[in-house]
Symmetry: C2
Subunit: 350 residues, 2 copies
């Protein structure tokens, strides 16, 4: 399915609402409820809008093959549980994490404002998207947010030889006076699986500290990583134990604490075509209006100014905001073949 952003040929500029609407029709037509379709379509169109192509329309085939496999329930209705004054849980019912999050969002914000801090523990959920869309809205609402999600076993623990952890990203967002929120979203693996595949295709070797072969030995050969090997945690040759510790923390908070699966626990072999990890997600959010001293958002802006003065030319999240502004002004650039294929998936003959 030619849903690449980088396909050659004509480029079309698609308004955000058109892309979102088309994606929603695709999801609903391929096995989700209208509610789930709306949430996933917004998420996926937002990634494409912001130039986060690896989580944009590129993911649609994976979503559809997963839905077709019966691995995930596109009609799941999340069940929100009010566990304690600062603690919400959601059983996603073997559905996607994003609708589960959506169902609890307002309650989470209210709890954070009332208690100063609140957390949302999502379990029995599938997360196949970028993580920054889960924290940015909280910062838009004036809150500080930290999100962690585990995924599927493809990373060896530091010193180990067998894949156990997922790429296990950590995302963070903070309100910034006079600007879009400060947001980062980083995998705790040294490299993304997609980048290993690209290197293999191009015949490039990888730098040290990125992966191991099927025997657990360090390798620079991307094909050896793909052929039964695994990724290393980030940190470089000398500090991958740090990335490994953070990845372990993600497993504990996103899976053990929520009641979800560890990245190595689920077995999708009975569902050929399944691609979505069935795990959990934790979101912690803090109300900085409770801070002592000057406005948190102003302090955040002070720090950004200081980082710029120290020579950091690009702040976390900045590239996304720039692409977002362009997309909202001119439309989202998509290869014409990709846009045609999306429209066919949405409205054409099955």
């Amino acid at each position: 399915m030619p849903l690449s952003h980088t396909a050659s040929g004509d480029v079309q500029h698609v308004p955000f609402d058109d892309l979102r609407g088309t994606l929603a029709r695709i999801f609903e037509r391929h096995g989700t409820s209208a509610e789930v379709a709306a949430v996933l379509a917004h998420n996926c169109a937002s990634a494409e809008r912001d130039g986060a192509h690896s989580h944009g329309v590129f993911r649609i085939p994976g979503y559809l093959s997963t839905l077709a496999s019966g691995w995930v329930d596109g009609h799941a209705v999340p069940r929100v549980e009010d566990v304690a004054p600062g603690y919400l849980a959601v059983d996603a019912g073997n559905g996607f994490a994003q609708p589960a999050y959506r169902a609890a969002y307002s309650a989470l914000v209210a709890k954070a404002r009332a208690n100063g801090v609140a957390l949302l523990a999502i379990r029995n959920s599938h997360h196949f998207a970028a993580l920054w869309p889960d924290v940015e809205p909280l910062a838009d609402d004036g809150l500080v947010a930290l999100a962690l999600v585990n995924s599927m076993a493809c990373v060896v623990p530091s010193g180990g030889t067998t894949a156990l952890f997922g790429t296990n990203p950590i995302a963070f967002a903070a309100p910034r006076a006079g600007h879009e929120p400060l947001v980062f979203d980083l995998a705790t693996s040294a490299i993304a699986h997609g980048d290993v595949q690209i290197a293999a295709r191009e015949g490039r070797l990888l730098p040290d500290g990125h992966g191991v072969d099927r025997h657990g030995q360090p390798t620079n050969d991307p094909r050896a990583i793909l052929d039964g090997g695994a990724l290393l945690p980030f940190g470089g040759v000398h500090s991958s134990y740090k990335g490994s510790a953070l990845s372990m923390m993600v497993e504990l908070l996103a899976a053990a604490l929520t009641g979800g699966n560890f990245s190595f626990e689920f077995d999708w072999s009975a569902h050929p075509g399944a691609q979505t990890p069935w795990t959990g997600e934790l979101i912690i959010t803090i109300d900085p209006a409770k801070s002592a001293g000057r406005s948190f958002a102003q302090r955040c802006e002070d720090l950004v100014q200081a980082m710029a003065a120290a020579g950091q030319t690009r702040q976390p999240g900045e590239r996304r905001y720039r692409q977002r502004a362009r997309s909202l002004k001119d439309g989202i650039p998509l290869p014409a073949t990709t846009w045609a294929e999306l429209q066919r998936l949405a409205d054409g003959p099955i």
Copy 2:
């Protein structure tokens, strides 16, 4: 002052309570209240007991010169503020962070149990110790804990040329069924300042990705780092932007949120001898009894077993526990000259 752990000569094995008592007398004699002395002595003796020498008695001269300089108030009485059901703040009153934490500890635990999650924001505080002692007790009490503290400008942000962040550690602890808690404590810098000094003394070059010279250019020469240069965030040559993002998060949570100073903001030039960073600290703690599904501590143990099966031979914190057991059985090994000097500082002629 010969307070090295590695001084040559005879080694004496000192019972924990003897070392703690001696350190308490040293602190009180050199400018702290009895309450502050007891907390700092316990902290410092615990680090020495666990083989964490860089935060053990090695730090005593730094504590004393800082107290003598008037930079920190050894008699400060922390003021605990009950900000919201899940939010405690402490104004440490320009004193040390550990007594401030101690003053709020029981209330923090109670809030976490009542609300599911709680945080403690310490400001106007000096942290000169390891960070793991701040999270381990919470895990001993059955809670999950995350602590962040910023320090003093010695790390360049990713892509930058001037030191801005501190070594900004992150510590995490989780209860583990049938075992001591799982604990890690990692600096977000590529290397500790002390290790750069050791490399310079030994004439060794550092690996790539550890530091920059006074012009902000990458260097392998530890002397160039010490001579007006700075450390890099951890992550290695290809991912130091990730360590940088985490270090930025520590600045925002430990300083901006608490109302403390950023690592680059305080000026101790009027206090020669001062060594303790005057910043803030954030502790987030979660009650895993609120978890869905199986016992969190059992799930934690399951993960540790899986990490061992994947070939990870040493779990985070394990080395400390092993040394702790030895120290409690045989006494804490100290060079006889160091122990004599500590006794002199405590009880000898001034």
